[in-house]
Symmetry: C2
Subunit: 355 residues, 2 copies
């Protein structure tokens, strides 16, 4: 009983062709006819069936978004950016995951084969990068939100992980810290390498190459941060700063340092990476490198949408810079205080993090 284009046509006394033309603004139509058709459309509250339009036109007006996990702390921001952009353009966003092993990759592949979406947004496809590359090769529009795209020409959005590492190093150097401890992220992520490289090079250039003992492995968890600090402290290896590759591990470091009785930032200054909401609430609040997650989601979605409009996808990554956010863990006394250092300060975005 849902109303169709045929209902509109007969009620307006025109053909379905004419209704379709009014709907899509194609072809010349007598103003009076168009007005009449529009009136009927409004009267009946007619909306074309997405299925039928999709079949006839060969596209779905749906964007797929493949994510590794929905529970990572910054994932909501990326998603929000992407979904806002996609919806504003009148598209839908289909959420896809393929982190439940082989079976779920098959699921994903069959969604692709079924042509359930016109293009794909992908966040850090760990195991599936090759498959994604193949899809891209076969003509499916794909935009990555990832760093590893640097390696091959691939449409993607990235941030300045290396630059972020540099800014953290410059900040700690300005504070006179000579022996920073680096707590790395998972090795398999490109961002880990970049953040380390930027940080290490800056210290090296300042005549203070990193002590290899002070560059320790981590896995982006709170626990890896606190363990790293405890281990070095027990081993009697000294450090006067910490650069952790994400905020969670920085938070772990913060707690472990305080547990040993050292003061932050006087004895040890701590810098994280990400700027998730948690960073503003540690004790003291965490200085960190802000990643523009929401903006990256928006930019990736915009790229994909304009590709649908015929704009070719750029092969070089679109890079949105990080920003150093200085808080108490490196020296600002008041917990409420917060200032940005660097070329651009992100808008004072509201983080709607209630409940």
């Amino acid at each position: 009983m849902p109303i169709t284009i045929a209902d509109v046509a007969s009620r307006a006394g025109v053909s379905k062709t004419t209704v379709s033309r009014v709907l899509n603004g194609k072809g010349e139509i007598h103003a009076r006819t168009a007005a009449r058709v529009r009136a009927v459309i409004d009267e009946l509250g007619y909306v074309p069936s997405a299925r039928a339009v999709g079949l006839a036109r060969g596209r779905t007006r749906v964007v797929g978004m493949l994510v590794p996990a929905l529970t990572w702390p910054w994932m909501g921001e990326v998603l929000q950016g992407a979904v806002d952009t996609v919806e504003s353009a009148g598209y839908g966003l289909m959420l896809l995951t393929c982190n439940r092993g082989e079976a779920s990759l098959r699921q994903f592949a069959s969604q692709v084969s079924a042509k359930s979406f016109d293009g794909l947004l992908v966040i850090e496809p760990e195991g599936s990068l090759d498959y994604i590359a193949e899809l891209h090769g076969r003509g499916l529009p794909v935009v990555l939100i990832d760093d590893r795209a640097h390696q091959r020409p691939f449409p993607s959005v990235a941030t300045t992980n290396r630059g972020g590492g540099e800014s953290a190093a410059r900040h700690l150097l300005e504070l006179g810290r000579r022996r920073p401890l680096v707590i790395k992220g998972c090795e398999e992520f490109g961002c880990t390498q970049e953040r380390l490289a930027g940080f290490a090079e800056t210290y090296h250039a300042a005549g203070l190459p990193l002590d290899p003992q002070l560059v320790v492995g981590g896995d982006f968890t709170f626990d890896c941060g606190s363990r790293a600090v405890s281990r070095l402290t027990e081993a009697g290896i000294d450090f006067d700063a910490v650069f952790a590759h994400n905020d969670l591990s920085a938070g772990g470091a913060l707690q472990a340092i305080r547990a040993t009785g050292r003061r932050i930032p006087q004895d040890v200054a701590v810098v994280g990476f990400d700027d998730i909401p948690y960073a503003a609430h540690t004790e003291p609040p965490l200085t960190t490198v802000h990643q523009p997650m929401r903006e990256m989601g928006e930019a990736a979605a915009r790229m994909l949408l304009s590709c649908f409009e015929g704009v070719p996808l750029p092969e070089a990554p679109s890079v949105i810079p990080t920003t150093l956010i200085v808080r108490g863990s490196t020296g600002v006394p008041s917990p409420a205080d917060r200032r940005a250092v660097g070329p651009r300060r992100p808008e004072p975005e509201p983080f709607p993090q209630i409940r």
Copy 2:
């Protein structure tokens, strides 16, 4: 050039009808014929077009999920539960938001009219509950993840907000706390009322009705928690415990209490609500009422899917209980320690919260 059912049919030397029957396992088919068709399907890697199947069958095999915001700390868990369940059933999950005012509600409405999905999962529709109710009335399968559904018969999944408040109260009573401060959530959420009611009744039943001065408004933010504590402290109003309606505001309370030099839990015991990952990392770690967000997402998705299979949606809410998680903020000495109290302890789920 994508291959269609016609390609498979001609290559297998049968009609499209037969291919369709093999695909869908309908009707009697000669074993040999079926095998041949299946071989061709595999050989060609044929997957039916979702658009065409949708149009022919009148359903999309897509579930819509309407969320108020993607950046709330527990949203990822709900989403993960829903998407896992939906994908395992071979369905897709279309993410919808309508929090950008009137325009975005229209966007949503038009997705509904376009019949872009077969059913809808809805999380706490603040402004749109009436519209959702109307859609449900018109026959769109809808499952709510919300508490307010209690009020009208509506298929929904909820948790024991009242019971959670009770368990918090019992725990604090056992610890001998007689003057608890309650930091409420936003008034417009049903959960706020329920959590307060359960807590207040339990204290009342123990002969210790709450002091009205100690029940203060809040908005689920970190800041509202710290402000509430500071304000009462300055006013010289005494309390020996805090029950905050979410973990963020409990975290704020925690910091403010420590800032005044009082010890936790010796001087003030603190209990939160939600059990987001943050709760395990406060100083001291936060005792809190665990909400089964992922399970709620899964349950809601399962309800909707079985409705597609013909099982009628229950009008009474499906309730998944909360669990009290006891940590250092009410008395466990070691930060690593954690034990569950109550009828059911949630599985020791891995929170994949890396990066």
